[in-house]
């Protein structure tokens, strides 16, 4: 299927163009999500896209699946309910760095702890874009934001380490520049029976970029190109990881899944 057919089939084309700023990485990342779903050949009715609040979370409105645009940070809580109500659905959560790790931080770690079969895709642009450029839990130390005019002093979260530490069974990191890798990680995440966390490093030329003099969207894409290294390369040559962001499949370990375990309990009662 070519790109315009994919757009027609999976997007609500009457809602386009989307509200994201020129050059925003979210559009590219959203395309990787759609291409991954198309590659896997999933039926549109078997997919449910859930999102919270923020720039990233506008995504659900542009997609023609079962979609749910929920309250701030609570996408995973709603998604957990959907998965329980209909375990056959492929539940995909599209969230942002603030939505997933600040307002919804507890939902993230507990969904990961339970290893519930939800694929969480976090568009990480290092800032709260929609509300005017406040620093988020992933803004690097020393970087500027409207609420950090003298530089941010908070240590940022490594979202992938957080998800892995909390118990996710599949963790990967791609970027808006490494779109093919990102698509592959999402495909693997959807196929993984358990909690999958895929972080997509995005770019915000309007707030994060302008506040930190990162230049145009093109320059920010080039930054991602030059500063990321695949885990497969780091495994062979650990010295390559110096001052680089590690991307690729970071963790993959099968564990018992939550709705399966829940069904075992339900079945016990059916047998009484």
């Amino acid at each position: 299927m070519n790109a315009s057919e994919i757009t027609k089939k999976y997007y609500r084309a009457d809602k386009l163009p989307h509200i994201w700023c020129p050059g925003c990485g979210h559009g590219t990342l959203l395309n990787t999500v759609v291409r991954a779903i198309d590659k896997l050949g999933l039926n549109k009715d078997d997919v449910c896209i859930v999102s919270g609040i923020g720039c990233s979370s506008r995504a659900s409105g542009y997609l023609d699946f079962n979609t749910l645009h929920t309250t701030h940070g609570r996408a995973l809580a709603f998604a957990t309910g959907i998965k329980h109500a209909n375990p056959k659905l492929h539940v995909i959560v599209i969230t942002g760095d603030g939505d997933a790790s600040a307002i919804g931080g507890n939902h993230l770690i507990h969904a990961a702890r339970r290893n519930i079969d939800i694929t969480t895709i976090c568009f990480n642009n290092n800032i709260y874009g929609m509300t005017g450029g406040q620093y988020s839990p992933t803004t690097p130390i020393g970087d500027f934001a409207t609420t950090a005019p003298y530089g941010n002093i908070d240590k940022p979260f490594d979202l992938c380490n957080l998800a892995q530490g909390a118990g996710a069974s599949y963790v990967g990191r791609g970027t808006a520049y490494h779109a093919q890798l990102m698509q592959k990680l999402i495909e693997n995440g959807i196929q993984n029976k358990g909690f999958s966390f895929v972080e997509g490093l995005s770019l915000c030329p309007t707030y994060y970029g302008r506040k930190n003099k990162k230049g145009s969207a093109v320059k920010m894409h080039t930054f991602l190109k030059d500063h990321c290294v695949d885990k497969k390369i780091v495994d062979k040559k650990p010295e390559m990881a110096e001052n680089k962001i590690i991307i690729g499949e970071l963790y993959n370990n099968q564990k018992p899944e939550y709705t399966d375990n829940y069904k075992v309990i339900i079945d016990k009662f059916h047998n009484y």
Binding site: S4, N31, A176, A217
Partner: protein, 64 residues
């Protein structure tokens, strides 16, 4: 000879210039804050513009 075509939906183009910069054959240009296909004969149909466009505004169509 390929029967692929490079097409645009200019209503969706925001003129960010990402496709222009990552085109390996420098086929595209920005004119009046929109992307234009300035040198269509140079296009090798690699699909880099389509892959990187955040707005689904440029795409390839046609067979192999």
């Amino acid at each position: 000879m390929t029967n692929k075509k490079l097409l645009q939906n200019l209503d969706w183009c925001k003129g960010c210039g990402v496709c222009v910069s990552f085109c390996p054959k420098r086929v595209l240009e920005i004119e009046n804050e929109k992307c234009i296909i300035a040198r269509p004969d140079d296009c090798i149909f690699c699909g880099m513009c389509e892959l990187r466009c955040p707005d689904n505004a440029i795409y390839l169509q046609g067979g192999k």
